[in-house]
Amino acid sequence: MAAESSPKIAIVDENPIRAAILEEGLREAGFASVERVGEMNNLLARIYQIDPDVILIDLENPSRDVLEQMFQVSRAVRRPIAMFVDQSDTASIQASVDAGVSAYIVDGFRKERIKSIIDLCISRFNAFAKLQDELERTKTALEERKVIDRAKGILMKLKGLSEDEAYVLLRSTAMREKKKIADIAQSIITASELLK
């Protein structure tokens, strides 16, 4: 895509990592003119300064309502928003809402050019959500590991067990009570603190 025909895209997202992932994707796809807005104060003024053709905003952002006033034709609005994604295409609205992003198209931008931007947005947002999910799981696993190690230490000390024996005891108790090993470990830590 030639630079001069590249639409100006504004990404409104308070999450700098997700915004960077989206920006990178857009640039790779040949959209050269991408601006990120991470500061929600005076959002409208910032948008006017950028004067974008397309505005992308995450759905966790309360400032989405601020953009809605750009649908109104008034003195405060210089270039009104013409539509929200493609109004005739419920499937694309549904997919973007599911991914957690919405797109506003400013008046004058050719409708057929939006599809590729939306698709890219959806896939990058979904990729980010997956990444975050994995991160969250790793974090939880790490924390559980710490709890189990502490409980093992308590059992070793109180019952004179080896590390392996302490772990076997934790695991068999968890299986018998149909609970997670980390939960049993946590109860041991809590109990030992109560009995201190």
Binding site: M40, N41, N42, L44, L59, E60, N61, P62, S63, R64, D65, V66, L67, E68, Q69, F71, Q72, V73, S74, R75, A76, F84, Q87, T90, I93, Q94, V97, S102
Partner: protein, 394 residues
């Protein structure tokens, strides 16, 4: 969705809301188990923007939602957005907003007000003098925050200031701000005033960054604020579920209005997963007894927020017509008899009556609106009605 009445299992419903005090009937219907008693298993989904609530309701991700009354009408008319017919069988609240101004603007208005500062005509005229003086001095126009283009807040602010001769589009700037950002924006000087629902006015007063200038009940005696919104086709497919939902809400509204249980209602609203605000602050709104100035001055009103009393829960098509008239007045909607009929049809007292079996409460106001200025509202002659207001966009 299929009906599961009488099978012993509960009907699951997903209902979206914004953390505001006027979601009370919904939150209490769930929190007190009234919905469960009616066979409903409601999952509450807290949202951060009205745009999200609207889109998720329209797409069917929500079965029902706590929604700005004007958004239900705008959606049904297809204004600015996808046209999705929405109806409301239950009005979640009348009034409940307030106009809060910065200490500087408060002082400026008080210096100019000629008489009782609770009289909105006098404060609006004082605002005109403040605005005129600022223009002469070459100062930037005053900025007023409100919550959404299609919101009662927007129309209440406009109605008030226009009565004093201030043109809301020419003389000041009206900007949309998410309610949680209102207080910060007032403190930082990004806005000089705002119109918003509870608890945000009280939060600004408590922090010493704002004075409550008016309760919106000073401007209109009755204004439909938030509604329980559902898609029209959903109503047709789920009549029994809808009736159960209305009854659960009606019971909750009565519970909230009962002085004996109001504190419990405030505590339910205060929960972290609901509003996550101090129950005492919420209680002020439900009691209509608010601290209005940082120095601690308290004002009490029996009309601050009506959740169920005086027939507040029963949707009144006259209210819908008034809101539509404001859309026309400010250039958001063209005037047509067909649009007026659609707007009125969004508010469905028949569904409320059928579900609750209550006799309609006779409105105490002759026109059902009770505006502080202008002729009585007559929905059958909107053109003539609007012509009596000199400042308008049509």
């Amino acid at each position: 969705m299929t009906e599961q009445k009488g099978s012993g299992s509960l009907t699951p419903l997903r209902i979206g809301f914004i953390p505001l005090v006027d979601a009370a009937a919904l939150l209490v219907a769930v929190g007190k188990g009234f919905a469960r008693d009616e066979g409903l298993d409601i999952t509450l989904l807290r949202e951060v923007s009205w745009s999200n609530v609207r889109d998720k309701l329209n797409l069917g991700l929500f079965d029902a939602a706590h929604l700005l009354a004007p958004v239900a009408i705008a959606s049904s008319l297809g204004l600015g957005h996808v046209k999705v017919p929405i109806v409301t069988p239950f009005n979640l609240g009348l009034n409940g907003n307030a106009i809060t101004v910065s200490p500087a603007l408060y002082a400026a208005i008080m210096a100019e007000v000629d008489g009782d500062p609770l009289n909105p005509l006098l404060t609006a005229q004082a605002l005109l003098r403040v605005v005129t003086a600022r223009k002469k001095a070459g100062a930037e126009p005053l900025v007023f925050g409100m919550t959404f283009p299609f919101s009662t807040h927007n129309y209440q602010l406009r109605f008030w200031m226009a009565a004093g001769g201030v043109d809301p589009d020419e003389d000041v700037r009206l900007v949309v701000l998410p309610p949680p950002y209102m207080v910060d924006s007032l403190a930082s000087g990004h806005v000089d005033a705002f119109c918003v629902g509870a608890p945000w006015n009280s939060v600004a007063v408590d922090l010493g960054v704002g004075h409550i200038l008016h309760f919106v009940s000073d401007i209109l005696a009755r204004a439909a604020e938030k509604v329980l919104a559902v898609r029209q086709p959903w109503v047709e497919k789920n009549p029994a579920v809808l009736a159960a939902l209305i009854r659960a809400h009606d019971r909750a509204a009565e519970f909230i209005e009962d002085p004996g249980s109001r504190a419990e209602a405030a505590a339910i609203l205060a929960r972290p997963e609901h509003l996550d605000v101090d129950a005492e602050v919420i209680g002020r709104t439900l009691d209509g007894r608010l601290k209005v100035s940082p120095e601690g001055k308290v004002r009490e009103s029996s009309r601050y927020l009506l959740v169920g009393r005086e027939g507040a829960a029963r949707p009144d098509p006259v209210q819908a017509a008034w809101l539509y008239a404001q859309m026309v007045r400010w250039g958001q909607a063209p005037l047509s008899d067909a649009s007026l009929a659609i707007a009125r049809g969004v508010f469905r007292p028949d569904l409320y009556d059928a579900a609750t079996g209550k006799a309609a409460v006779k409105p105490q106001l002759s026109d059902g609106v009770g505006a502080f200025v202008g002729p009585a509202f007559d929905p059958s002659v909107i053109t003539g009605h609007l012509d009596s207001f000199p400042i308008r966009r049509r």
